[in-house]
Symmetry: C2
Subunit: 317 residues, 2 copies
């Protein structure tokens, strides 16, 4: 059986651009992350990508493809980036076409949450499964869907927007005028704002910074009742959206990653309790709720793996 070739994974984030050489589930070399704001639109960023790819190819033989994950809406087939969240200047940019012409390698471009989903499915917590939902919790909430052993991208390659799903038909207004969007309840900042309010009601004045999910984890581990109650609330709200994914898709597993998931059992405990108490037998009997395997490298690993699949190379675990 031939070994899996190397591929380059690019993760264009709102803050920085990460570029790495990926071998299976490992980033074996990574260039220095560049601040996204240093690039004034797609062209200078493409120059940076081409330089980096050429440099990495000069040191690693047999790189078979380049995968790019972006924080926005992409046409996966054509590789046109329709727009990027918090990165101006990207309107209907033909990223796949321009990049593949210059580097002479197969290129794929996909939404970052899809790349994370692909990484967890092919290399991570969801390996070997045919039906899973992956969710990433951070400043925003994203996700991806695998069913019947394939990525589900939908009509316009936009599927998996778990953060926009509603948990309250009369709830808070999300970024698309969508009422009750999950992201408005359990995004990083929303958790901090809620925590500040609950602490205040309990007679404690806290700064927003003291109410970050990371700080709330530390407080909860020390037995702080308010912090524990907050994690229960986050688990209940996330559980509600996860439940909807389960009723609709009956997955084998739900994989949860991103910064907020670093809370570990503080999140997974309430989440699974709320979830399992509200699902019927066939939906929960074999359901696994799994922490993601990959952290910051998920985007690079998933993008790289997808470029191999696009190049016709079987993805071995």
């Amino acid at each position: 059986m031939p070994d899996t070739p190397l591929a380059i994974g690019v993760d264009i984030g709102g803050t920085s651009i990460k570029i790495g050489v990926v071998y299976r589930s490992n980033v074996i070399e990574q260039t220095k992350p560049a601040p996204t704001q240093d690039f004034d639109g797609p062209e200078p960023l493409i120059d940076h990508l081409v330089d980096s790819v050429e440099e990495l190819c000069s040191r690693h033989r047999g790189i078979a493809g380049v995968g790019v994950g972006v924080p926005g809406f992409v046409d996966f087939e054509s590789g046109v980036v329709h727009n990027l969240t918090n990165v101006p200047g990207w309107e209907n940019y033909r990223l796949k076409e321009v990049l593949s012409e210059r580097i002479k390698l197969p290129v794929i471009v996909d939404n970052d949450a899809n790349c994370m989903t692909y990484a967890e499915w092919k290399r991570g917590a969801g390996r070997g499964l045919n039906h899973l939902v992956a969710i990433t919790l951070g400043t925003g909430v994203g996700g991806g869907v695998v069913a019947n052993g394939a990525m589900i991208r939908g009509a316009r390659f936009a599927a998996g927007e778990v953060g926009q799903m509603t948990i309250d038909w009369k709830g808070r207004t999300g970024q698309y005028n969508n009422l009750g969007a999950l992201e408005e309840y359990i995004g990083n900042e929303e958790i901090a704002v809620l925590a500040q309010r609950v602490y205040k009601e309990a007679g404690q004045e806290m700064t927003l910074d003291d109410c970050s999910p990371a700080k709330l984890s530390i407080a909860a581990h020390k037995g702080d009742k308010v912090a524990l109650e907050l994690w229960d609330l986050v688990g209940a709200k996330l559980g509600s959206a996860v439940m909807n994914c389960c009723w609709l898709l009956n997955p084998q597993a739900v994989v949860i990653g991103g910064g907020v998931a670093k809370a570990g059992d503080l999140l997974f405990g309430p989440l699974t309790a709320h979830l399992y108490s509200q699902l019927s037998g066939p939906f929960k009997e074999h359901l696994m709720v799994l922490p993601a395997r990959f952290g910051n490298e998920a985007g690079m690993i998933g993008a790289a793996a997808q470029s191999l699949e696009a190049a016709g190379i079987a993805i071995l675990p």
Copy 2:
């Protein structure tokens, strides 16, 4: 190109059992519906099915399969019925195995909402699409999912339970202890109970019977403001659940059938208004919200078509 063979579709409902010979999208002969309660468990019902199938086969040559739709949880692969809603005596019954042994034809057994979905996808409003969600509105709310040009059944063949999806994480308790289940808001009876209350608040005493969805349609067509407001509420709640299906799966179409959908524009108007105002571009630009083509015959037509597919016969539109 060979013609599509005939198949028999069986629809085991909570009230009656329908058995028909199906040619493409038509039930060309149907036996007299038998009341479900006349059968004391699976065995006498199997006898009835075998008699009916043999009778229909004696009059129609070339019947290639039998499909059975049931109102409950089925293992689609093995054809074991785990349980039926409102039909006692069906616990882990090997329906497919027992029936196919006796009638010597390929048999499939599936959930009734999946049969409806399959009918609409292969023969009805969703023909030719690769990504769709079908929803049936009646006493209960059911559904089914097609993505990447295939039925999505999930880990235990239970996918598509749109009626159990939550629209309020702190809402009404559904039949599985699930808070905010859509079915608890827009099932037939729930609509009537809500209507009775809203009329009372408006100073009008009404019986529950006067508040049925059918009666509410008549009143709304006459310009009754309370009835119009009620249909808007139903559209908003259903829209919330449909929106969740869209964010997660990005379908090309949502097909809506069942008794409550007979309200037509009274339902589809508010539904699409609420839905389109809360989705972003790629989710709504080409999204079709379509009335189902089939009514009471959807189960028979979908079950029959699935039996042909299981027998290796291509399903022509």
